[in-house]
């Protein structure tokens, strides 16, 4: 293992030496890369990576792909689902201007979108300030690699009191097979007071694409601002996806963060929330659905550092075939964070003899006047319900499908954008049909 790590580490340094057109300041990049040390590589001795071995990820050395020709039809097919959205398209780790909406047009609506590659040297301060402000508890090497080797990314800023009703659709598409492509976009979103924004963050690939996707998201939500984010993980079976998300909320901020993770060979998402003001609300939702030998690991860390905030987490896992699901969530209520209301729920369906679920919902509470609860369940479909449906003439497979769908719908029904909700539900349906146990 050490050997593999060293090779991977050397690869990172090598990319840094060889590469040009990096988008963050040299100082900042070097500080990031200095964190990519052998001792910082996550291993299973690290509690946060207990159930998630990374050897298969480190076995591959990805490289930057050149800007590739892409069949516009492939992209249109993906953007058509969200016709009522602004589209920004990234292909194999590059921003694609042709396929994206005109950024200057968006600016007219009061939304400032800066591509990191367009920032003048020396004007990256604001972006770097937001990133530096983020103190992650699972400060894994991947976000440092993302930053150290960043060649594209977005800095989105909404001015005070601006509400953008049309969602922003960020599409990250992989097209390269053969060699593993590195895709490491940075998304920094700053909502000034009382502004509101919706984002659909879609990770997808053209069939059989090989990639290492390691996005880093930073959300700064000012007083009274509201951010809604829907993350779709729909990449190919040959893709590894490791993301880090950090959100900080000032007074009366609101974050609605959904994750629908169905794709990739290997997925790990780390979502950390920091309540820096009071009266804020965070809703975290997610479904991880695995088949074949997918590994899906969801980590959340919610830091109630200030009083009178609400967090509500609900994650559901559906594991087919040989897949393995991990939920690892922690709610921290600090001293003085009185009147905190924190809920955390994780439910899992095991649909195959060879699937496995490990879950670790955790509470750390240092204030007494709080409402905190968590729960977790793991099991198969309810036999009584299955039988009931069968007794009404429904085949066992159909009954199982209906119940599984219903299990997922309890989360997806909270997606407020109609076209997106339908899209997600159709994806779930298609994937369930593909899994062995629903073969008719």
């Amino acid at each position: 293992m050490t050997e593999t790590l060293n090779i991977f580490k050397d690869w990172v340094q090598d990319q840094s030496r060889k590469g040009s057109d990096f988008v963050l300041s040299k100082d900042f990049r070097q500080r990031s890369l200095s964190e990519v040390r052998t001792e910082n590589f996550p291993t299973r001795k690290n509690e946060e990576w207990r159930y998630t071995p990374l050897s298969s990820v480190f076995d591959r050395q990805p490289s930057f792909a050149a800007e590739a020709e892409v069949n516009p039809a492939d992209v249109e097919q993906l953007t058509a689902a969200f016709a009522d959205a602004h589209h920004l398209v990234f292909i194999d780790g590059h921003f694609n201007r042709t396929l994206s909406d005109e950024i200057s047009v968006l600016a007219r609506d009061g939304i400032a979108i800066n591509l990191l590659e367009d920032l003048e040297p020396g004007s990256q301060d604001e972006v770097e300030r937001v990133i530096k402000n983020a103190k992650l508890t699972d400060d894994n090497i991947f976000r440092h690699i993302t930053q150290g080797l960043a060649r594209t990314g977005l800095f989105i800023e909404l001015q005070k009191n601006i509400e953008i009703t049309k969602p922003l659709h960020l599409l990250f598409l992989g097209t390269q097979s053969g060699k593993t492509t590195l895709s490491n976009p940075i998304n920094v979103v700053h909502l000034n007071p009382n502004s509101r924004l919706k984002i659909i963050q879609q990770f997808a690939s053209v069939t059989a694409t090989k990639a290492l996707t390691i996005p880093a998201d930073y959300f700064q939500i000012d007083e009274g601002a509201a951010l809604e984010i829907y993350k779709l993980g729909l990449e190919s079976d040959e893709t590894d996806h490791l993301s880090n998300t950090y959100a900080q909320l000032a007074d009366a901020g609101s974050l609605n963060h959904h994750q629908y993770l169905f794709g990739s060979r290997f997925t790990r998402t780390n979502t950390e929330i920091n309540f820096a003001g009071s009266g804020s609300e965070v809703v975290l939702r997610g479904i991880y659905l695995g088949d074949k030998s997918q590994h899906l690991d969801i980590r959340t860390y919610v830091d109630h550092a200030q009083p009178n905030c609400m967090s509500d987490q609900h994650f559901r896992g559906i594991m087919n075939d040989h897949s393995r699901g991990v939920f690892n969530g922690l709610v921290l209520v600090r001293e003085h964070a009185q009147k905190t209301n924190a809920q955390q729920s994780n439910k899992n369906l095991l649909l195959s003899r060879d699937a496995r679920v490990d879950t670790k919902p955790q509470l750390e509470i240092h204030a007494d006047d709080v409402k905190c609860a968590h729960g977790a369940t793991i099991g198969e479909l309810d036999e009584n319900a299955l039988f009931y449906l069968q007794s009404r003439g429904i085949s066992k497979q159909d009954a199982a499908l209906m119940l599984t769908r219903a299990f997922a719908t309890e989360i997806t029904q909270e997606v407020k954008l109609d076209s997106l909700r339908e899209y997600i539900q159709a994806e779930i349906e298609a994937r369930l049909m593909e899994a062995q146990n629903f073969h008719v």
Binding site: L350, A355, K360, Q362, E364, I365, D369, H374, T377, I378
Partner: protein, 498 residues
């Protein structure tokens, strides 16, 4: 004289039985640690420190057979390669293992044959502890294997138990008298390689209890043992081994108290339980060792490894613990559910106050088919203490139709304390149903006011609310213990609500 004492105690007891549980919560007069005294008995010590020589000396002193000496040495050699575990929610100064005495025994050539032979001062000690042996013998039908610093000094009811084929004796005696049983079972549930403290215990354990219940026998009385740490700077390494053979039943009670000292003392016990086909073991603990003073000075470090195996079909192991003492508690009484249809239970109340730290919970390892486990954990944090539940439920791939339900609640008293819940659920078989729930609550001002308005003082009100919260666990304790446990809670909470 003795008679008189006995009668008084009888009256006491009757009063106790008559009064209901709230009575037990009435303020116990003395705010300081009730059991804080030092028994002045001549002690026989080995030199300080730990090396192979000391391990051999312990074994030789106890006239152990060869296999035991070898086992101890293997453990010691393994221990040298290990390092102390670090836990995120426990902080304490490093223990210097070379500054401890590993053996201390009351200076007596031969063991006492009856109570009359027991050092009167020791008996007085037990009286102060509320464990008057003769009264227990007469009134409660409890056989007490009392352990003061490592060596058992009195065992009662031996005769009656002998008749039924039940072996209940100090483990040092069992090693000599029943080596085949010891050799067969010792270290089979907690191997000498298990963890830092269990390995240390395996190398240097001084004494403890041994129980064997033969097939088809239902032990007619609660077996009880009181542990005390007495000599200054004596690390205590108790070892308990309980075997319930086929279709047998035993209920074992362990109570712990220690005198007050301004110096931290280490306690690293190992308890192994083995339940064969259709057997049931109920193991109850009330632990109120010295917790340190209000500033967090002193107190016992309680690093215990307790594990049982339901080796046979339809077997059952039930752990019940009420933990109110120790400066630091680190223990996870666990069940390995190997036999089909076996059942594991864990009921726990852990109360921390002032600067106490507790990290406790259980592991339920489901290996057999149709195995069931239940976890009920009630944490109570007050003062500046930290109280963590840490538990593992593992359903292995071959365990069909396993069921687990866990309920882990926390009660906070005041805004300076911490309550933490770390459940680990690992499921590799889809036929399992595993469910974990946890909530956090506080003793609300409304509740206290409501009770105040009915004439009940705030201190009593808190005691009542806390006991109500922990009721599910208290119900698992034998009556005698339940009353004592509830009283302990009130004492431990004194001064926590202003």
């Amino acid at each position: 004289m003795k008679k008189e004492k006995g009668t008084m105690a009888l009256e006491e007891k009757e009063k106790k039985t008559r009064s209901d549980e709230q009575k037990a919560l009435q303020k116990i007069a003395d705010q300081d640690y009730k059991y804080g005294f030092v028994t002045d008995i001549e002690m026989e010590d080995f030199p300080k420190g730990l090396n192979e020589e000391i391990v051999r000396m312990i074994s030789a002193k106890k006239m152990e057979p060869e296999f035991m000496t070898e086992w101890r040495l293997k453990a010691f050699r393994h221990w040298l390669k290990m390092s102390e575990p670090k836990w995120p929610h426990l902080t304490y100064p490093e223990v210097n293992f070379n500054d401890l005495y590993y053996y201390a025994a009351p200076k007596k050539k031969d063991g006492p044959k009856s109570l009359d032979e027991v050092d009167p001062e020791l008996l007085a000690t037990f009286e102060k502890l509320g464990v008057p042996l003769e009264e227990r013998e007469l009134l409660a039908g409890v056989a007490v294997d009392a352990v003061i610093d490592s060596v058992s000094v009195a065992t009662t009811f031996k005769g009656k138990l002998n008749e039924m084929g039940i072996i209940f004796c100090p483990i040092s005696e069992a090693i000599k008298d029943h080596p085949e049983l010891v050799q067969k079972y010792l270290g089979t549930v907690v191997p000498y390689t298990d963890n830092f403290y269990a390995t240390l215990n395996s190398a240097v354990f001084s004494d403890g209890s041994f129980v064997y219940i033969p097939p088809g026998v239902r032990c007619p009385m609660e077996l009880s043992s009181y542990f005390r740490i007495n000599a200054s700077k004596t690390g205590q390494f108790e070892r308990t081994l309980i075997i319930a053979d086929k279709d047998s039943y035993v209920s074992y009670l362990e109570g712990c108290t220690a005198p007050m000292r301004d110096e931290n003392q280490l306690h690293a016990a190992v308890v192994e339980l083995i339940a064969l086909d259709d057997a049931e073991i109920k193991y109850s603990t009330v632990q109120n060792w010295y917790a340190g003073n209000k500033e967090g000075v002193g107190g016992i470090y309680n690093f215990v490894t307790k594990r049982g195996i339901c080796a046979g079909k339809n077997s059952k192991i039930s752990w019940t613990q009420v933990e109110t003492g120790s400066a630091i508690t680190w223990k996870y009484p666990s069940c390995i559910l190997k036999g089909d249809h076996s059942v594991g239970e864990f009921y726990s109340v852990a109360l921390t106050n002032n600067y106490q730290q507790a990290d406790t919970g259980t592991k339920m390892i489901h290996l057999g088919n149709d195995t069931r486990s239940l976890i009920v954990s009630k944490g109570i944090s007050a003062g500046k203490s930290n109280n963590a539940y840490r538990g593992l439920v593992k359903i292995s791939k071959k365990a069909e139709n396993a069921r687990n339900y866990s309920q882990c609640d926390s009660l906070l008293i005041g805004d300076q304390c911490g309550a933490h819940t770390y459940p680990y659920l690992e499921v590799e078989n889809p036929s399992a149903q595993v469910e974990h729930e946890a909530t956090t609550s506080k003793v609300s001002e409304d509740q206290i006011f409501y009770l105040n308005q009915r004439g009940i003082s705030t201190e009593d009100a808190v005691g009542m609310i806390v006991s109500g919260y922990a009721r599910e666990v208290f119900q698992q304790l034998p009556m005698e213990f339940a009353v004592e446990a509830q009283a302990l809670m009130s004492v431990s909470l004194e001064g926590s609500v202003g």
